[in-house]
């Protein structure tokens, strides 16, 4: 910025602040720390922080702040130039057991048994794509703009695919997910979850599960592809270091394997998601989402109505707790999709239209939610005004999956980010 600055950060973010400063070129930035939290404290409590000590250094806080602005720079602080970041040696050699523990202890796994990535296994995995090992696939960071992007090659992705237990035929799908640049371990304190919807004939080529238990631990491609996403998010973008690049206060269990959803295209009365996004039906595509995870819709209003459950009402109702940060991802069993068609929603777009028009929230309620500014930017909007949850129907996305044992659905406060061709990586 060009002027002396004393950044103030609460102690909860100590590791993050320091590593962030270092990664942005100011390893010696004069950061001052306050106790945590600041949010919710009274004026008197906050003033007491100022009259007390920096909890990290133990020094009086205000003196530290004024010193930060006035004490002359040291020789180290005046340094310029470029510093390479090392990620360690290219290989590790030890017994299999010791290596498992080494990868785990150094934060390179999801804390479970991996397939150790030997040269031989890497070579076998690389047969799953025609692309060269050194080709750059893309870039990713724990949060765009807040952390530097790391880049990665086909070889890097393949190593992580081996670790996750993937077969070579899963590699193009994993490469496509990597290309989206969406980390499955967002740094946010919010503990976000991610989803990947797979469309196209590859679902059957790989024998993906889109029937009973679709989102659960019942199929190798679903499990391994999902796990690979978190594995590569950690290793290829430096996501997932608690306190530094991962601040999710509670964490999210979905991060282990992510929501891998192969759309049940043949039992769906609607257009597949990929086709809605501009691809042809016979193209293999992965579409990724991020948000707060999904919850089951059972118990929703209108589901017990006879003879025809009011699925659209239940979906709208189940989306009430959503906030404006993300859109709505609706995951319907084929029975629900068919039921919705019979209720008059012949296309996903028609349902999105109805939901968008009929999902309203009072300005008063909207104002008290996180990121209220996005919802009610105008301070003059009266409290009792009813505003739509979403400005346009395209905030709603739908995917059909399930084994038709019962007409159930799930809803997630999650936003669509991008669709990437899997065929490109074959």
């Amino acid at each position: 910025m060009g002027f002396p600055t004393a950044p103030l950060v609460t102690i909860a973010f100590k590791d993050l602040a320091k590593s962030n400063a270092a990664s942005r070129g100011m390893p010696l930035e004069r950061i001052c720390f306050t106790p945590h939290p600041v949010w919710g404290k009274t004026d008197a409590e906050m003033y007491a922080y100022l009259e007390g000590n920096d909890p990290v250094t133990g020094k009086p806080l205000m003196k530290e702040i004024t010193d930060a602005l006035t004490l002359p720079l040291t020789a180290d602080e005046k340094k310029t130039g470029s510093v390479d970041i090392s990620t360690g040696p290219p290989t590790y050699t030890d017994t299999a057991d010791a290596l498992q523990q080494y990868y785990l202890d150094n934060g390179m796994t999801d804390f479970m048994q991996i397939v150790l990535p030997t040269d031989e296994r890497l070579a076998a995995m690389l047969k799953g794509t025609s692309h060269k090992p050194d080709e750059i696939v893309g870039k990713m960071s724990p949060a765009r703009g807040s952390y530097p992007d790391w880049q990665f090659t086909v070889k890097h992705v393949a190593i992580n695919a081996v670790m996750a237990g993937a077969k070579p035929e899963y590699l193009p799908t994993i490469l496509a997910i990597a290309e989206t640049g969406l980390t499955s371990l967002s740094s946010s304190t919010n503990s976000f979850a991610t989803a990947a919807v797979i469309n196209g004939p590859i679902r059957d080529t790989l024998n993906m599960n889109y029937g009973i238990g679709a989102m659960g631990p019942f199929s190798q491609p679903n499990a391994a592809i999902g796990r690979a996403w978190t594995m590569l998010s950690r290793n290829l973008s430096n996501s997932g270091i608690p306190g530094q690049t991962y601040l999710g206060t509670l964490g999210n269990s979905v991060n282990y394997n992510n929501l891998i959803i192969a759309e049940n295209e043949k039992n769906s009365p609607w257009t597949p998601l990929s086709v809605q996004k501009g691809f042809k039906q016979d193209e293999n595509v992965v579409s990724v989402f991020v948000g707060f995870s999904i919850s089951q819709g059972q118990g929703g209003i209108g589901l017990g109505v006879k003879p025809v459950p009011q699925y659209h009402e239940a979906i709208a109702y189940n989306c009430i707790p959503f906030g404006p940060l993300f859109g709505a991802l609706i995951v319907c069993d084929p029975l629900v999709a068919q039921g919705l068609v019979e209720l008059g929603y012949k296309t996903k777009e028609q349902l999105a239209d109805w939901l968008q028009k009929n999902s309203l929230i009072s300005a008063k309620n909207a104002r008290s939610t996180l990121f209220a500014g996005r919802w009610v930017p105008d301070a003059n909007t009266p409290d009792d005004a009813l505003i739509p949850y979403y400005r346009s129907p395209d905030w709603y996305n739908f995917v059909v999956v399930g084994g038709q044992t019962n007409p159930y659905h799930m809803v997630g406060n999650m936003s669509y980010r991008v669709s990437i061709s899997i065929d490109k990586w074959a």
Binding site: F111, G211, G299, G403, T405
Partner: protein, 411 residues
């Protein structure tokens, strides 16, 4: 009754009109191709054949005691292909590894731990050694073994047969959390610690192999499946940072006892969308209530709150979890009309109301616009404190408390 005379109808039956159902009845059994009503009448009248009149015991084999020798790669695939894993790489359970795991308990390998069924099926029984095999597969260290044994002894599977795709949670209390170095700070529910990951995973593996759960179409009918089944919600309570009594102490255990408490329900979701999240003086109890206001009351409400929230609530007068639970119960309500329109109410509560069971009987007699609680009982609500205090957030789950089991018993 392997020869039970079953007649199949098209699917589904629920949501079909009377005309459509009549068409089913007048049509054919889609499996046998025979006219349905004739088949039903024949089933009731045609005399039993010799096979159908057999009696006696039939032993069920679960296969040979060991597999191999073969390459590790082939063995991995064998376990996957025979439904014995979660489809992720396992640690192949050799005799040596199982012996190491068995050293994690003083209980004898052939001691029966318990029995488990994934629903209305005959339960399978299992020994300490059987549980050890699955613990090895999941990547557990021997020091995790007593916790796994405790979970196994409860007989609660983490994969249930229902079409609902249930999720399960295990709350861990006591000094064992620190002994095992469990994570209850930043990323508590996520993939950031070996004990959390392995213990959760072991529960699903043993549910498949020891409880015969998770066979799609047979012992698992969850229409869409649940991602949470991979590792389950393993929640080590952040007792040190919590201003309240730990969960197990609420259930009658001493603070220094090591306990695992199991929950079952639909899932869990972050509460950041709730009303009241963004004010200078947040009222967290209102946020909880807001999130739960659209959840079914059929399962309990489990709040997993970051210590920042717990500390704030206590300072505002919620001295105990019980006080907060009482407020939540009184202030999270629904109209009778809304209640009756839910699928669980019609399917499960209504028959109970007819039997005179409370509160359902009273609720079903009330007027549509009257207001009733979200949950049938106040103790359907539970609160656990976990998290790394980077922000005052919580997660809310439609999860019912089942049972608490002593881990110490299995050391």
């Amino acid at each position: 009754m392997p020869h039970l005379r079953i007649t199949f109808t098209p699917h589904p039956v629920a949501t079909k009109t009377a005309d459509e159902l009549r068409a089913y009845v007048e049509g054919n059994d889609p499996v046998s191709g025979k006219p349905m009503m004739k088949e039903i009448v024949d089933d009731l009248t045609v005399p039993l054949n010799a096979e159908e009149t057999k009696t006696g015991m039939v032993n069920v084999s679960v296969g040979p005691e060991n597999y191999g020798p073969d390459t590790p790669r082939n063995l991995q695939q064998f376990y996957h292909d025979n439904g014995m894993t979660d489809f992720l790489p396992i640690i192949l359970p050799t005799e040596e590894m199982v012996d190491e795991m068995l050293a994690g308990t003083s209980h004898r390998p052939d001691e029966v731990v318990g029995k488990m069924a994934a629903g209305a099926y005959p339960p399978w029984g299992y020994t300490v050694k059987q549980v050890a095999i699955n613990a090895v597969m999941a990547g557990c260290k021997p020091e995790y073994f007593p916790t796994i044994l405790a979970i196994a002894s409860s007989g609660t599977p983490s994969l249930f047969s229902s079409t609902n795709s249930f999720a399960y949670a295990a709350v861990i209390n006591g000094p064992i959390r620190d002994k095992l170095n469990m994570n209850y700070g930043i990323g508590a529910l996520g993939p950031f610690a070996q004990p959390n990951a392995a213990i959760g995973r072991a529960w699903t593996l043993l549910s498949k192999n020891l409880g015969n759960g998770g066979v799609p179409g047979d012992t698992y009918m969850g229409s869409q499946g649940n991602n949470l089944n991979y590792n389950n919600l393993v929640i080590a309570e952040n007792e040190g940072a919590s201003p309240w009594v730990p969960f197990h102490a609420q259930k009658g255990f001493k603070a220094e006892e090591n306990v695992v408490s199991l929950f079952r329900g639909l899932g869990i979701v972050p509460g950041q969308g709730a009303r009241g999240t963004s004010t200078d003086t947040p009222k967290y109890e209102e946020q909880f209530s807001d999130l739960f206001s659209v959840f079914t009351g059929f399962f309990g409400g489990l709040v997993v709150a970051d210590p920042l929230i717990a500390v704030n609530l206590k300072a505002r007068g919620y001295d105990t979890k019980e006080k907060l639970i009482e407020w939540l119960y009184k202030n999270t309500t629904q109209t009778v009309k809304d209640y009756k329109s839910r699928d669980f109410a019609y399917g499960f509560d209504y028959p109970r109301a007819l039997k005179g069971l409370e509160p359902y009987a009273t609720w079903y007699n009330m007027k549509d616009d009257e207001v009733i609680p979200r949950w049938p009982h106040m103790n359907d609500i539970n609160i656990v404190v976990a998290g790394g205090q980077t922000n005052a957030f919580f997660q809310g789950g439609s999860l019912s408390y089942g049972v608490s089991v002593s881990i110490d018993r299995w050391t």
